[in-house]
């Protein structure tokens, strides 16, 4: 899984800590979300998308061959 969370976060001028606080998670969770190493729940994905002003599809890119 790839994510574009970092790009959208930078566009919104948010730090990882600020994004984490906005969605109510730890900063390390945001770190692993950006790396694509953590599979978030639908609610968390929705919260992150809402804060970053994007859709879940825009933020999370799944490789269909996986």
């Amino acid at each position: 899984m790839e994510t574009k969370i970092r790009e959208y976060r930078v566009m919104k001028n948010l730090t990882q800590a600020e994004l984490a606080e906005a969605v109510g998670v730890r900063r390390e969770t945001v770190v692993f979300l950006e790396k694509g190493k953590y599979n978030p729940s639908l609610k968390l994905a929705h919260d992150v998308a809402k804060v970053l002003g994007a859709t879940i599809d825009e933020l999370f890119i799944f490789d269909d061959d996986e």
Binding site: A20, G24, V25, R26, T29, F32, N39
Partner: protein, 221 residues
């Protein structure tokens, strides 16, 4: 929705739906009964720890009677003292106060050193003191070293915590099975103190190791 907005909405919903103030607000105070769902995260942990400790005591007492181990009132008294000490340790950890946790860590370290020294000099086995000191040190030092944002329990930390404990439980179960068969086939002679001491150390240490491993990977799968 952030956590602040959620709690605000919840409190507003209560007033909107009922049209009157919550009864618990009228009777609020130290001794006012609260529902489990109304308790904070730390308060819930106290309640769960106390309930599980009581359950553990009941299980041990029943097991002692069923197996004919000669249980008496001293068993209940001693078990109660041990559980009160465990709950005091849990309460100290949950205060989150650095001074309390540092004192607990140092006390645990002293117990380990004293236990080892007494074993060498007195010739007796002070395994209980060493094991108890080890547990106290691990729990208090881990709490002392926790960074500030670790107070937040999010879905990832809960997931990793749960899976870490599940793997630890599985590993412990395999160790118990192995120890049983080795003892049954007389390949090794384990005493009860040895087995329980191993398990007391194995479970929290393996939990921490599994949780750290999953945390470094990012997810559990």
């Amino acid at each position: 929705m952030t956590n602040e907005e959620k709690s605000k909405e919840n409190s507003e919903e209560k007033i909107d739906k009922t049209g009157k103030t919550d009864k618990s607000e009228k009777t609020s105070g130290i001794f006012a009964p609260k529902r489990f769902s109304e308790l904070g995260a730390n308060e819930r942990r106290y309640v769960i720890s106390a309930a599980l400790s009581a359950a553990a005591m009941v299980i041990v007492i029943i097991a002692a009677y069923v197996t004919g181990a000669g249980a008496g009132f001293n068993l209940i008294g001693l078990a109660s003292v041990i559980l009160v000490l465990i709950l005091a340790l849990i309460a100290a950890k949950m205060t989150g106060k650095k001074a309390v946790l540092l004192a607990g860590s140092l006390l645990g370290l002293l117990m380990i050193i004293a236990g080892l020294a007494l074993t060498v000099t007195a010739g007796d086995n002070f395994q209980m003191m060493i094991t108890g000191g080890f547990i106290m040190f691990i729990i208090c030092f881990a709490g002392y070293r926790k960074p500030a944002d670790r107070e937040i329990q999010d879905e990832r930390s809960l997931k990793i915590g749960t899976w870490g404990m599940a793997y630890s439980w599985y590993l412990t179960y395999l160790v118990i099975i192995l120890a049983f068969w080795l003892s049954y086939l007389k390949a090794v002679t384990f005493t009860v103190e040895m087995i329980t001491g191993i398990l007391i150390i194995l479970m929290p240490v393996s939990t921490i190791i599994f949780q750290k491993y999953f945390a470094s990977r990012g997810d559990v799968y």
